[in-house]
Symmetry: C2
Subunit: 449 residues, 2 copies
């Protein structure tokens, strides 16, 4: 990497240039009689303070040091040259399990784009690996870049691709799979993989980060180490989503893939289990089961791979301005399913009912989830719900709207018979539906368990 | 009411028939040497236990009593005949403030429809008043049925109607307005009234209930009394939404109208403040301010009424399957605005950007909120956000997507100039936007304050 990529300017750039150090080199920073030694990291945070230099300490954490005129920077050792693509495996340590790390992009594998000043997915799996060298202590890692996409751009066909690669890693005998992925649609992908990869022998752990790995406050290192720890040690074979449980670095929560939702735009503990509990508490040191897994690790179990998704499924969030013609539009546009994200217990305005009936008559599967997010759809309580049931709308129990949407895409791609598809949609397969009506899982467990 | 409306059958119906009591009569129920006296209520809960009889006690609360063969029912006194429509005021009690109760429908004013077995809005304001006689102790009440609509069917034109009637009640000198409304879209209506009724002299309190008033576990009575208490006593002149703060009957929370969201399908404490705190803790006995109000009660203040809303505004919740042609559809259908409910910090898939630009070029206002719900949109961090800002998408700060949708409908109906409309959309008017970036309001305060 050249200094042009470092992102520094002004005093910091001047000091770095003077030392002849490059990003990736080990340097010493002396300031007020204190000395800090670590790897020089690129500056990335848009609009961040131009007086700070960022180095990665031996502990794996990044720190920002504010330089003054009399601060000294000295290059100690040149950084290793990095490889940038392909699958890479280090010399095997016989005592350790094997983990596959599949990188799809997102903040956990990103750096700043100096053209737009914004963060872009760019780091290779090897970069990830170099950035968090402690990984080597936890597992023999097979790192692979499978795509480089910010997660808002992930599409159903990407889920198919990811599922197939996970299946091949499992076939190759990995002890656990880690998928580095952007957080924006991490919950959608974790739900999709939960349906696509059934009867798993080992766990599949999706992990992201809310601050990119070249920022001092990054959660990337802890999340990634935790994910490898969880993927190789936990006695589970579910699809899990692992992120910070609190704003601090105390511990992480592993949520069931079909129950996790991003509920905050920026906090490190943005992800929460909805209508369910986190299954594991994880740190770099330990993996603790806090709620029982429904599928245990068993390397002899034979994976069932069903990676296809129907893309022509619409999500309609009802609101006081929603018009019936929107339903008609999806029918005319050749959609095969509509997931309504209705209000309350599962209601859509009366003015939509005729068009919903037309859609069902035209062969679409129309189902109902709730924009409340927490709680269960119950369409037997109010007249509106009863009428929608009569029309043939399928009530999606206590599934998150996002999970229900993904499941509808999945059942429509995997079932030729529409009645079977409808039945499958409301049959619990991988913990996405709980037939017990439990209200206690609301809020009280948020932020804890 | 005839016994056919009572909803009872089997043993309970037999015992009631034997006593010649009708729904609304005061009866005595003797069981195991205990005697209960109260008003016979209709059975309403779909699928409820057929062995219970429901009576309303003197305290205002309903209880269910399980009858056995040797239980005795005796009619004590016939019920009063009820009036059903119009504005009704009781003899004035000079010492009490005046409260206006406007009934729009919803569970708080509902009973069971024995044709479909589902709950329908039906009770008049006078029925509400009769159901919760304690109201008389709190205020001289002007009760008015202004519509009878389950709230999933409320449309922007209904907000206009409600706002105009509130304005006329205020002109008539009321000390506070209570609006009984279904909970499904209660948050949309409370946001709409917050914008439509500015510079209020007295508070406007929206209230609903999660269990209909003829069910033993109803929250209707406590919520209604609390609303009258709040509307007449609190030193505020904001639009507030009042509901249970916990599943028990300990106290209620008054949320700012633009910050409240239904976050659970069935719990009594379904409503939570998002990116804000509840302002008041309320019981039948007291009204306690827990976070400062931004507008204080002042009967001399002159209301600014701006009740119009543009109906042609779409809500688009992005997801991995969303297609650009959906944006094109709204442009072709003559929409004037699109509120995107994007992912994370405010992102929409790249494949939508060209259509979004076309929509803006065609004159639509396109704005961005986040499906995370909690936290703030920040489109300067990632390339996708930066590109959308360049195209002209308006970032809606920390507004709830639902509030942002309603505000876009409102600015488009109240501003001829599009640039003024865009500016107004992101200008804090009634507490709907907080320019401080505060992450602490997430989860930690949920279920408390």
């Amino acid at each position: 990497m050249s200094l042009d990529d470092s992102g520094y300017d002004g005093l910091v750039l001047q000091k770095i240039s003077g030392s002849k150090a490059k990003v990736g080199d080990i340097i010493s920073v002396k300031k007020n009689k204190e000395e800090y030694v670590g790897v020089l990291m690129p500056r990335s945070q848009v609009g961040s303070d131009p007086f700070h230099i960022i180095i990665k300490l031996d502990t794996g954490y990044n720190i920002g040091i504010k330089l003054s005129q009399d601060s000294e920077i000295r290059k100690i050792k040149a950084g290793k040259k990095k490889r940038t693509t392909g699958t890479e495996t280090e010399v095997e340590n016989k005592g350790l399990p094997t983990a596959s790390i599949l990188s799809t992009g997102g903040t956990i594998a990103s750096k700043v784009d100096y053209q737009t000043g914004a963060v872009n997915p760019a780091l290779s799996a090897q970069d990830l690996y170099d950035t968090v060298p402690e990984i080597r202590e936890y597992a023999n890692v097979r790192a692979k870049v499978i795509m480089s996409v910010l997660s808002e751009n992930i599409q159903p066909k990407d889920w198919t691709k990811i599922a197939r690669i996970v299946a091949s890693e499992i076939k190759a005998g990995t002890d656990g799979v880690v998928i580095a992925h952007g957080t924006d649609t991490l919950g959608f992908t974790s739900a999709a993989l939960s349906f696509a990869l059934q009867n798993l022998p080992v766990p599949v752990v999706l992990v992201g980060s809310q601050r990119s790995s070249d920022r001092p406050s990054s959660d990337a290192a802890m999340n990634l180490i935790g994910a490898i720890n969880l993927a190789t040690k936990a006695n589970t074979a579910e699809v899990l989503l692992l992120m910070h449980a609190e704003t601090g670095d105390s511990y992480l929560h592993a949520h069931r893939g079909t129950r996790a939702r991003k509920l905050h735009t920026s906090r490190r503990d943005a992800f929460q289990s909805v209508n369910g509990y986190p299954l594991f508490r994880v740190t770099e040191q330990y993996v603790e089961e806090i709620h029982p897994s429904i599928l245990r690790r068993n390397k002899k179990r034979k994976l069932i791979l069903k990676p296809k998704f129907e893309e022509k499924v619409a999500l309609v969030k009802t609101n006081p301005g929603v018009e019936a013609s929107l339903i008609d539009y999806f029918v005319e546009a050749g959609y095969r399913g509509i997931m309504i994200e209705g209000t309350g217990l599962g209601h859509a305005p009366n003015r939509l009912h005729a068009s919903i009936k037309k859609a069902i008559d035209a062969g679409l599967v129309v189902a109902m989830s709730s924009q409340c997010l927490f709680g269960r759809v119950n369409m037997n309580v109010y007249r509106c719900g009863v009428e929608l049931l009569d029309i043939g709308v399928i009530p999606c129990e206590d599934m998150l709207p996002e999970t229900a949407l993904v499941k509808l895409m999945w059942v429509l791609a995997n079932t030729a018979n529409k009645e079977t598809a409808k039945e499958l949609l409301v049959t619990p397969l991988v913990g996405e539906i709980d037939m017990r009506s439990e209200e206690s899982e609301y809020i009280s467990h948020l932020g804890g368990e």
